[in-house]
Amino acid sequence: MSQGSGLIVDDVSHVYDRTVAAQNVSLEVRPGEVHCLLGPSGSGKSTLLRVVAGLETLQSGRVEIAGREVAGPDTHLRPEQRSVGFVFQDYALFPHLNVHDNIAFGMPKTSRERKREQVGELLAKIDMAGFEATMPHTLSGGQQQRVALARALASHPAVMLLDEPFSGLDTQLRREVRHKTLELLHATQVATLMVTHDPQEALATADSISIIRGGRIVQTGSPEEVYLRSANRQIAEVFGRVNRLSRTVRKGLVAVPGSSVAVQALADGTAVEVLLRPESIELERHATAGAITAKIADISREGATLTVTLILEDGSRLEARDLARQDWKVGETVHLKVAPEAAMIQSLPSAE
C-alpha cells in the first residue's frame, strides 16, 4: 500500500452549532485498520465524520481519502464523489425500498443480473441470504445494522465511517454484530473510522483509538496503550476506576505496593501519582516475596468478579478486582502485590 492510501485527517478544526466539534484534529487510518474516536456523547464526534464524508463543509484543515485530497482550502468534493461508506447511528435504511434495492442503491452501474448476484453474495456474508425482498421495517435492529453495513460496502468505498454503529443493539446482540462487522471490515481492507462513546466497545473493536475531549485528540494509540499507559488520570478514568497513590521519587525509584518502579525521566523529590487499575493488584492468602499486607474493608460482588476494598498499613485505601474464585472475608488480612509494569506513574504539576 502506498503511503497516501486510507484516510488522512490533517489539522481539521470545525465549529458546529456553536460547539467546537474538532480543534486541530489530525489522524490517519490505514486500509484494513479500524480507528475509533472515543469521546462523550454530544461532543461533536459525529460532526467530524460528516466533515470527512462531505456532508458538512470543511472549515479548516485538509482531508485526504485514498491519496486524493477531497477537502481542503481549495477543494470540496461532493459526498458522492468521495468514495466513503457511511453507517448511520439509526442505520438510515430507505424505508420505501426492500433490502435488495437498499443494498444495490450505491452499486456501480452494471447489469441487473450482476447486481442481483452481488447483493446475494453480500447478504450471504452477513448471514442474511434470502432477505432480498424484505422491507426494512420488518427487520430486527441487528439485521438493519448489517444491511446498512452491506449497503455501505456495496459501493466499494475506500473509507468506512461508522457512527455509533452498535449503540442501538442490546448487549448480547451487540457482541455478535460487532464480531461480524469487524470480520467483514478486515476482509475488505477498507479504512474504517468509527465513533463511539462506549470505552469497552472501543477497546473491543479498534486497532487504534483516539480519545477526544472538547474537540481535541488527547491521546492516540493501540487499545493496550491507551488502557495500560493512559496519558493522564482523566484518560485512565475513561476506561474505569483507577487507584491513585501519592508518592515521591527517591533514587530514581517510585514505590508501589510490593515493589518499586524505576523512573529515569524524573528527578529525585518529584511528587508523583501512581495510577493502578484494580485488576492489576494481586491478592494472596499467604505471604510471598515482596508482598505487603492489607485488611479487607469491603467486598462487592459483580458476577464473575469481586471488587475488594483494602486498607493498607499506612491507612490508604485501594480497590482491587479479583475473580470470584476465592472466598474472601471482610476483616481478613491479605497480602498484595503489584506488577511494576502495570503501574502508570504521572508527575504532578508542581503548582498543586
Partner: protein, 583 residues
C-alpha cells in the same frame, strides 16, 4: 477565484426559493406599497363616508364570531374528550362536518330558510294565521345573522385546536387537579382551559382570519366590511378606483398583521410544556340520564345547524327545482372549476416541492425566511390578493397594449389582466402555504440521515430527490394537492375579481344565482361544492385516527411496541397538527 465561485454557487442555490417567493409574495407586497399612492381625493372621500362603517362592522363581526366560536368549539371539545355520553364517538368527527360548507353557502341556506317566503315564516303564518306585520321575526340579513352563519361554519377550527390540546394534556395534570379537590367544573376552568389556551388562541386566530377575509356571506347579508368594500370599489368606473381598492386592501392587511402579531405574542408568553411523559386514557366522566341527553344535544346542535340543515335544504330545493341550466351549462361550469383547480393544485404542489426541498438542501436562515414568506398569502383575504395581482397586471397590460398599438396600429385591450393566468397566479399566492405545509411536514418525517446515506452512496442531489424524497413523499403530495384543489373549488372573492368575463366556475355560478334570489337553482352547485368539500374533512378525520404511534407502516411491527402505543389520538404529531391547523 474559489471564493467567487462559491459566492456565485450560493446565489444559484438561492434562485429557486428566491424566484418562487418573489412570484407568490409580490401581490401582497404591491398592496403594502400602495399605501402611499395618490388616488385623486377618492381616498379622502372613502375615509369620510364608508370607512367608519367598515371598521365598525368588521370589529362587531370579529368580536361576535370570536365569542361564539370559542363557546361552541371549546365546549363541544371538552364534552367529547372528557365525558362519555350516547353518540360521542360519532359526534367526535361529525363536529368537523361544517368545515365542508363554505360560509357563503350557509348564508344562502339560512336566508332561504328564514326569509319571509321561507319555510319557517310560512309555517308560522299558516299555523297562527298571521299575515305580514302581525309578528316580529329576526332579520337574518344583519350583522348578528352574519355572526351566526360565520360561527356555525368556522367553529370547527377552535374545536379541533381545543380537542387536540385537551388530548395532549397529561392525565397527571388533571388527576392532580382532582386530588387537590377540584371538581370537574373547576378542573376545567383552572387546569384544562389554561393549559389549552395557546392552542385555542391558534384556532381562534384562524377563525378571525377567515372572518376578516369573509366575502360571500357578508356581501349577501349586506353587511359592509373591508372585504366587500374592496370588491365594490374595484368595480366602480372612477379613475383611481383600483388604487383606492388597493388602499382598502392595505387596511385589511394591517388588520391581519395585527392579528398575527397578537397571536405570536400570546403564544410566546404562554407556551406550556408537559412535564410528564405519562399519557393514559384521559379520565372520562360517564354521564347518565338528563345530563347525557343534554350533552348529546349540545354537541349535536352545531352539527345540525352547521351541516344538517343547509345540506337538507339544498337537497330539497334541488329536488324541487335545481339548476335549470343543469344539462349544458352546469357541466361547463363544473368542468371549468375542475380544470382550474387541477391546474392550480398541480402547480402549487410543484412549487411547494421546489421550495421545501431547496430549504432542506441548503438550510440557511435566508432560505428558511424565503420559504416562510412564500406562505404569507394564506393569511391574506382573497380579495386583497386579487387586487394585488390586478394592479401590476393592468400596469403591464397598458404598457403592452401601448407598445402593440405603436407597432401594429391596433389596441388588443387587456391581455394578462383578463386571462386565466391571473386567477391561477392568485390561487398560488393564496394557497401555496397549504401545499407547502404538507410537503414540509412530509419532508421532516424523512430522517436527515437518509439524505446522508443517499449522498455517500453516490447519489447526486437530483437522484436523491427523485429516488428517495419523492417516493417517500407520495402521501403528503397527494394530500397537499387534494387540499389545494378543494380550496380552489370553494374560493369566491379572488375568483370573482380575477376570472375573465366569459368564464364561470361553480362557486361563481352559485354566487350569481343567489345574488339574483334564485336560491333553488343555486342548490345544485352548492351541493356539488359541499360534496367536494367533504373530501378534506374525511382526510382529516382519517389522519386523526391514524396518528397514533405504531399505526404507521414504516415502524417496526413488533407486538411489544404495539402494546405500548397509547390508545388515543392524543399523540397527534406536531407536523400533522400544523397541517390540521391549515385545514
Amino acid at each position: 477565484m474559489v471564493g467567487a465561485r462559491r459566492r456565485l454557487a450560493s446565489w444559484v442555490r438561492l434562485a429557486p426559493s428566491g424566484l418562487i417567493t418573489l412570484f407568490v409574495a409580490s401581490p401582497v407586497l404591491v398592496i403594502a406599497a400602495s399605501l402611499g399612492a395618490d388616488t385623486g381625493g377618492l381616498w379622502a372621500h372613502l375615509a369620510s363616508t364608508v370607512l367608519p362603517e367598515y371598521l365598525r362592522n368588521t370589529a362587531l363581526l370579529a368580536t361576535g364570531v370570536a365569542v361564539t366560536t370559542v363557546i361552541i368549539g371549546v365546549g363541544t371539545a371538552w364534552l367529547v374528550t372528557l365525558c362519555r355520553f350516547p353518540g360521542r364517538s360519532l359526534l367526535r368527527w361529525a363536529l368537523l362536518l361544517p368545515l365542508a360548507i363554505p360560509t357563503y353557502l350557509n348564508a344562502y341556506a339560512y336566508t332561504d330558510l328564514l326569509q319571509f317566503s321561507g319555510p319557517v315564516q310560512t309555517w308560522l303564518r299558516t299555523t297562527f294565521d298571521w299575515s305580514r306585520g302581525d309578528y316580529w321575526f329576526p332579520q337574518i340579513h344583519s350583522v348578528s345573522g352574519a355572526i351566526l352563519v360565520l360561527a356555525l361554519g368556522l367553529y370547527p377550527y377552535v374545536y379541533l385546536a381545543a380537542r387536540t390540546a385537551f388530548l395532549e394534556q397529561s392525565v397527571c395534570a388533571l388527576e392532580v387537579g382532582r386530588t387537590l379537590g377540584l371538581g370537574p367544573w373547576h378542573n376545567f376552568f383552572r387546569v384544562a382551559l389554561p393549559l389549552a389556551r395557546p392552542s385555542i388562541i391558534a384556532g381562534l386566530t384562524l377563525v378571525l382570519m377567515e372572518t376578516l377575509a369573509e366575502f360571500g356571506a357578508v356581501q349577501y347579508f349586506g353587511v359592509n366590511t373591508f372585504a366587500t368594500g374592496i370588491y365594490r370599489i374595484h368595480n366602480q368606473p372612477f379613475p383611481h378606483a383600483l388604487t383606492a381598492a388597493a388602499q382598502l386592501a392595505a387596511c385589511l392587511l394591517v388588520l391581519v398583521a395585527l392579528l398575527i402579531g397578537i397571536e405570536s405574542l400570546a403564544r410566546r408568553s404562554a407556551r406550556f410544556h408537559n412535564t410528564s411523559t405519562r399519557y393514559r386514557d384521559l379520565p372520562s366522566w360517564q354521564l347518565r340520564g338528563p345530563r347525557a341527553t343534554l350533552a348529546t344535544a349540545l354537541c349535536a346542535l352545531p352539527v345540525i345547524w352547521g351541516f344538517g340543515i343547509p345540506v337538507l335544504l339544498f337537497m330539497t330545493r334541488n329536488l324541487q327545482r335545481g339548476d335549470t341550466l343543469a344539462r349544458a351549462k352546469f357541466l361547463e361550469f363544473g368542468r371549468n372549476s375542475l380544470v382550474l383547480a387541477a391546474v392550480a393544485s398541480v402547480l402549487a404542489v410543484v412549487l411547494a416541492i421546489l421550495l421545501a426541498i431547496s430549504e432542506r438542501l441548503h438550510s440557511t436562515p435566508l432560505h428558511r425566511f424565503l420559504t416562510r414568506l412564500s406562505g404569507i398569502g394564506y393569511a391574506i383575504p382573497g380579495s386583497v390578493i386579487a387586487i394585488g395581482i390586478l394592479v401590476p397586471l393592468y400596469w403591464a397590460d397598458h404598457r403592452l397594449s401601448a407598445m402593440i398599438e405603436r407597432l401594429f396600429g391596433f389596441s388588443p385591450g387587456l391581455l394578462l389582466g383578463g386571462s386565466l393566468l391571473a386567477i391561477i397566479y392568485g390561487y398560488q399566492t393564496r394557497f401555496l402555504a397549504v401545499s407547502l405545509n404538507f410537503v414540509q411536514a412530509g419532508l421532516t418525517r424523512i430522517k436527515p440521515s437518509l439524505d446522508g446515506a443517499a449522498r455517500t452512496l453516490g447519489a447526486t442531489p437530483v437522484r436523491m430527490i427523485r429516488s428517495v424524497h419523492l417516493p417517500m413523499l407520495r402521501g403528503s403530495l397527494t394530500a397537499a394537492g387534494l387540499l389545494v384543489f378543494v380550496d380552489v373549488i370553494k374560493e369566491l372573492p379572488a375568483t370573482l375579481i380575477l376570472c375573465p368575463p366569459n368564464f364561470q366556475t361553480l362557486a361563481m355560478r352559485v354566487y350569481n344565482l343567489a345574488k339574483d334570489e334564485r336560491l333553488a337553482e343555486a342548490s345544485t352547485g352548492a351541493l356539488a361544492i359541499i360534496v367536494i368539500g367533504l373530501l378534506p374533512v374525511l382526510l382529516l378525520s382519517r389522519m386523526l385516527d391514524h396518528s397514533r404511534p405504531g399505526a404507521e407502516g414504516s415502524r417496526p411491527a413488533g407486538a411489544a411496541e404495539r402494546k405500548q402505543a397509547p390508545t388515543h389520538e392524543s399523540r397527534l404529531r406536531p407536523d400533522r397538527r400544523r397541517c390540521v391547523a391549515r385545514l
